[in-house]
């Protein structure tokens, strides 16, 4: 009986709790971003609905759900509807392998990192399909930029992660966290961390690498034609992406849930929030490079560095065996 209860908790309750928590976190991080950006920019931000404007998210949700669910007559209707779903699904799937705390993990997957790369490579489709199905030139330009940007930065992300795999000797995220009991991998892999950070920003297409939706250039890029809940899904998907990348940075380079005094889950949330804030700070501070500058930065600077990092790490790891 207790086994059965345990199974129920492990298989259903924890995933559901995690997913709901994530959705809420994704929604409220929009509020957080708006408030914090406003604070940094000498403004007030949403402060009218509920205490500190916390219920602004609810108001936005009501608005976004009750808006006309408009599909442009010139769009490829099926793909147009599927595209925002893909981003949500992929981002949620990505969280399945994150070890939030000991025992709080949806899938104990030995090849967790590979799964993650697979997920991130598939999430390109959401933006590409949105750009294609909108049948609009701005959306198409956004999709063009996305395809190039995300494909390239996935390479650097994968190469950066391989350094971690070599050091931790595993693809499993929970094992990677456990391997950091004595030393965070940021110390062992400082270069890898920066590479992963850059690739992460580009993968979640956040400012300053938000070229797929650069509003001053191509209006809103791939989601120019989107409105109502379908736009909302892109929106929440983007914030889930930010949280996912922050959670990954925490897990891979900052010891995951490990930390003294406080409970592991709290450590994990604190560290992740720190990086979410860092993402917001980046958006407030830095202008956007040009599309070709971003690509050149990736291929001319990040790629050689990533290869170098991999080489040095492997050599370091193999040196004692020689």
């Amino acid at each position: 009986m207790s086994d059965f209860l345990g199974d129920i908790t492990g298989d259903f309750i924890i995933p559901i709790v995690i997913l709901v928590a994530l959705l809420l976190a994704g929604a409220w991080s929009t509020w957080l971003e708006r408030r914090i950006l406003a604070w940094w920019q000498d403004r007030l931000g949403p402060n009218r609905v509920g205490p500190f404007g916390l219920l602004q998210v609810v108001a936005d949700m009501i608005k976004i759900f009750t808006k006309e669910d408009w599909i442009p007559p010139f769009a490829d209707k099926v793909l147009f509807v599927i595209a925002p779903m893909i981003v949500m699904i992929m981002m949620m799937l990505g969280f399945a392998i994150i070890p939030f705390a000991p025992g709080i993990q949806i899938a104990h997957f030995d090849n967790g990192l590979l799964f993650l790369l697979a997920i991130s490579s598939l999430s390109v489709y959401s933006i590409m399909l949105a750009g294609f199905s909108s049948n609009s030139k701005y959306a198409l330009l956004g999709a063009m930029r996305t395809a190039a940007q995300m494909l390239s930065y996935e390479v650097f992300m994968g190469l950066a992660i391989m350094g971690i795999v070599i050091v931790a000797d595993s693809f499993s995220l929970s094992k990677i966290v456990e391997a950091q009991a004595d030393m965070w991998f940021i110390i062992a892999q400082p270069l890898g961390f920066f590479l992963f950070l850059f690739a992460g920003i580009a993968e979640s297409h956040r400012a300053p690498f938000d070229l797929p939706e650069a509003e001053t250039e191509i209006v809103a890029g791939f989601h120019t034609e989107y409105a109502s809940m379908k736009f909302g899904m892109f929106f929440i998907g983007e914030y889930l992406g930010v949280i996912l990348i922050s959670a990954l940075i925490t897990t891979l380079y900052f010891g995951g849930w490990q930390g003294p005094w406080l409970p592991p889950l709290l450590w994990f949330i604190l560290k992740t929030s720190f990086f979410v804030l860092f993402f917001i700070l980046l958006r407030a501070a830095i202008p956007r490079p040009r599309y070709d500058q971003l690509m050149a930065f990736g291929w001319y600077i990040l790629l050689p560095l990533a290869l170098l990092n991999l080489l040095v790490t492997a050599a370091w790891q193999l040196a004692p065996t020689l």
Binding site: Y125, A143, M144, A147
Partner: protein, 185 residues
Amino acid sequence: MIEVLFFIAAAVALISAAMTVTAHNAVHGLLYLVVTMLAISLIFFLLGSPFAAALQVIVYAGAIMVLFIFVTMMLHQGEKSLLEEKQLFQISGSIGAFLLSAVLLVELVYVLAGFASPQLINGSEGYFTIQTITVKELGIQLYGPYQLLVVIAAMMLLSALISAIHIARRQKNPMQADEEGDQTL
């Protein structure tokens, strides 16, 4: 449980493969191909090779197909080309392909018939014992007995890379001339 998953994945793979060929809209066709890739990846996974499964998704579905779709998107599909596609697809013109696929199908059914028999699934004997191959084992195999193949593959990729760069290099591109001209306006 695994059989059920396998058959579902296989069915998805077959149906989407068929749809790949029959879809009139090139992008739709390619998307069905992506689904085929994903289904195949699941089959790899079920058969005990998570690494092959992940690579199937990352490389084929996540990178190569993205480029395919990217290029197809650029080639602006209008109503006109859709109609042309429709006229192109005729049963009479595809008899050869159908015959060849039928041979493959027979082969597949034969293999599957063996696979589906209970004693094989239980893993006591036969050719399909499911045994998970870890990445480590795979790596040892690749850099051990198959070292030569890896090196040859690497050299082929390198030469492909170099020729790709060569083709992509813009020689006497009119745009570039414009750019230089632009300095003097």
